[in-house]
């Protein structure tokens, strides 16, 4: 069996109750603009409140400001934040992947420097993987770091760097070898200050008109030796480990959840019809089942396994389901959404229609995920 059965313990259910009570009190409906899952707005004040509750860097060690808790605890907190549409943008990447990766591969000095600030919700990170010529094929990155006295001189261009303009740092996957032809062996990760000299951030408007994407150009950016993450030449393995944190979590099947909840809230009479009930029941059944798969992935991480295949299966299925939910909602409601509507439902529908195509692309396209999964299934 690929996925072991998983349920929440009484302690984990207690955490779920705490998070629900916190959100109802700190972020009552109608007092904020909810977002679609992890695309929700950034709000450093809200991130600080979560940190105060001990809900950032949960699985990081206490000696670095973390809470020595589990991946499942983080799952419980995260799913509640996402389904609420809470503004998670500021801490999202740091909490989900950069913190764990620094904790796993970083030096003692790096851990002391970055982890406590991540756990306080102060530092925000972006992701420095994609490039113009390296999308799904990440090993094709061309950004190059050349050895200089005391560090590295980095040149290249990173692309699709979400929130680079609002973040403090990003982890850059780059080539540190001499072009020996070893596609994987000459890759390394550097922790780069987004305010470095020689670094330019150019906005790329997304089709929804939001400033979200960026192009980050690095021209002779100096990165000191103490900011090399892990091993020089170990970047590929580290990056793969980082991707495992990016996949299989609740953000891969909850992006359109709130759309349906807000439809129920604003037009409850629709659900008197059997057609709507059927669609609702179908969606709820699938959420319930996919959530069980996703929870099983978190349990595997806690037991020290590396569920790369399972994560890929969940992300591929979950993101398609997110798009299915939107399609069902659009079939139920004959409405062309317009921007800046007062109704939370219509606003979310507007956002969802314009952003849903990205669900099956970001964090690894579904086609690549299927290849990853089929290798793990012993297909070849």
């Amino acid at each position: 069996m690929l996925f072991a059965p998983a349920d929440l313990t009484e302690q984990e259910l207690e955490l779920q109750r705490e998070v629900r009570a916190f959100l109802a009190k700190e972020l009552p409906r109608g007092t904020f603009t909810p977002g679609l899952g992890m695309a929700a707005p950034r709000d450093p004040t809200f991130s600080a409140k979560l940190a105060h509750r001990g809900w950032l860097g949960m699985a990081l060690p206490t000696r670095y400001g973390g809470h020595d808790r589990t991946a499942v605890d983080r799952f419980v907190v995260t799913e509640e934040l996402l389904r609420w549409g809470a503004p998670v943008g500021h801490h999202w990447v740091a909490d989900r992947q950069t913190g764990p990766v620094i904790n796993r591969f970083g030096t003692e000095e790096q851990k002391q420097r970055f982890l406590p600030a991540i756990c306080r919700g102060e530092l925000s990170f972006a992701i420095g993987m994609s490039e113009p010529e390296a999308g799904s094929d990440l090993a094709a990155v061309r950004t190059h770091a050349a050895r200089v006295n005391g560090g590295w001189l980095v040149n290249g261009t990173k692309l699709w760097t979400s929130r680079a303009h609002e973040s403090d740092w990003f982890v850059v996957l780059c080539r540190t070898g001499d072009d020996s032809g070893d596609r994987h062996g000459e890759l390394s990760q550097l922790i780069v200050d987004l305010r470095s000299d020689g670094l330019t951030i150019n906005a790329i408007s997304s089709l929804s008109g939001h400033r979200e994407f960026n192009e980050v150009v690095l021209e002779d950016v100096f990165v000191a030796d103490e900011l090399v993450l892990g091993e020089i030449g170990g970047g590929w393995a580290q990056n793969t480990s980082e991707l495992a944190h990016e996949r299989g979590g609740p953000e891969r099947w909850l992006s359109t959840y709130l759309l349906l909840e807000e439809l129920m809230r604003s037009r409850s009479e629709l659900f008197d019809a059997e057609r709507a009930q059927l669609m609702l029941g179908s969606a709820v059944a699938r959420w319930w089942a996919i959530r069980r798969l996703s929870l099983s992935v978190a349990r595997m991480i806690d037991s020290g396994e590396a569920p790369a295949v399972q994560s890929a299966l969940v992300k591929e299925m979950g993101t398609r389901f997110e798009q299915d939910v939107l399609a069902c909602v659009q079939e139920l409601v004959a409405l062309e959404p317009v921007r800046d509507e007062d109704s939370p439902f219509e606003r979310l529908l507007f956002e969802a229609v314009l952003s849903a195509s990205s669900f099956t692309i970001r964090g690894g396209t579904n086609e690549i995920l299927r290849s990853v999964a089929s290798k793990g299934l012993g297909v070849l």
Binding site: D7, R265, W287, I290, G378
Partner: protein
């Protein structure tokens, strides 16, 4: 926690006895004495004494081997009576039956292996009624899409062996057994299809090396995994929510996964000579038995809608503990 020793024992036993030839022959003959004797001899026929989750794990193994015996019915009968049942027994899923002066009249339809079992359990006005098959005035043999016996039995003032209030909801628990069977059949179908794709060569290489084929294999694994955790979740907490949700995803998967599995197999999958049909036909049949996807989705949806928007996510996480 399930009793893995027991389940492994059943898996070995059914793996040894439910060979391709035996399952094939059972369809022609309507019964497999060799499988039933092996199961009864090993004591697994008293599945009824097992805790619910263990009994369902055994049912899943039966689905994995397309076992041509009414194991699911034995489990279901025991739940209805809240007591173990000995000997081959089946359950009437539907029909027009009435009790008059304690005697049973009317027709029970689509009874699994109705002609071959000793007695059946029918639910009439909330009463679980046990009647010997020999007391039926007449019966008509039929089959489902998979060729499994689904017989009609007509009773005319038959004397029940036992009548007592049904201890559970027939339709829900029936759907629960079907979800468990389907989880097993999907697991077997996923395994069979990967093995076939690795073996079958075209254009000088295994067809599993084609990305288009790999995508089908991944889709089958996803659906099998989804139904696996859903059936397992409903076995742990057999509430109305969980059972409905499990049958919804299982019945949906029966369409999508079998379509992909047949596509990978090509023409050989469309024959009686090759094992795929033991699973695909059962999945197509079981997806309708005890309510299809639409039935359970509408029922689940009406409960969820009535609970309102604020309870939507609590329902997704808490299921029948919440609604």
């Amino acid at each position: 926690m399930s009793d893995w020793l027991l389940i492994d024992g059943v898996r070995r036993l059914l793996g040894d006895t439910c060979t391709f030839e035996v399952v094939q022959a059972a369809e022609a003959e309507g019964w497999s004495p060799s499988v039933w004797d092996a199961v009864a001899g090993a004591g697994f026929a008293s599945l009824s004494e097992l805790p619910l989750a263990d009994a369902l794990a055994v049912v899943t193994v039966a689905g994995e081997h397309a076992a041509p015996v009414p194991l699911a019915e034995a489990v279901l009968a025991a739940w209805l009576l809240d007591e173990p049942v000995s000997g081959p027994v089946s359950v009437a899923p539907a029909g027009e039956l009435r009790l008059e002066g304690g005697r049973l009249s009317g027709t029970a339809v689509r009874v699994p292996w109705g002609h071959a079992v000793a007695r059946i359990v029918a639910v009439v006005d909330g009463q679980a009624v046990v009647v010997p098959v020999a007391s039926a005035a007449r019966f008509a043999r039929g089959t489902n899409l998979a060729g499994e016996p689904r017989d009609a039995l007509v009773f005319d003032c038959a004397e029940p062996e036992d009548t007592r209030p049904a201890a559970c909801d027939l339709r829900e628990r029936g759907a629960l057994t079907r979800a468990a069977l389907m989880a097993g059949a999907l697991t077997a179908m996923a395994r069979l299809t990967v093995a076939y794709a690795r073996e079958r060569r075209q254009f000088g290489r295994p067809i599993a090396s084609f990305q288009a084929v790999q995508q089908h294999l991944v889709a089958i694994a996803q659906e099998a995994s989804l139904v696996g955790v859903a059936a397992e979740g409903a076995a742990r907490v057999p509430g109305s929510f969980e059972i409905a949700a499990a049958k919804v995803v299982a019945s949906r998967a029966a369409l999508t996964a079998t379509r992909a599995a047949h596509q990978v197999h090509g023409a050989i999958g469309m024959t009686q000579e090759y094992r795929l049909h033991h699973f695909s036909r059962r999945l197509w049949a079981w997806r309708n038995e005890y309510g299809d996807e639409q039935h359970w989705a509408a029922r689940l949806g009406s409960t969820v809608a009535a609970a309102g928007a604020d309870n939507l996510y609590p329902a997704v996480t808490g299921g029948s503990a919440v609604i």
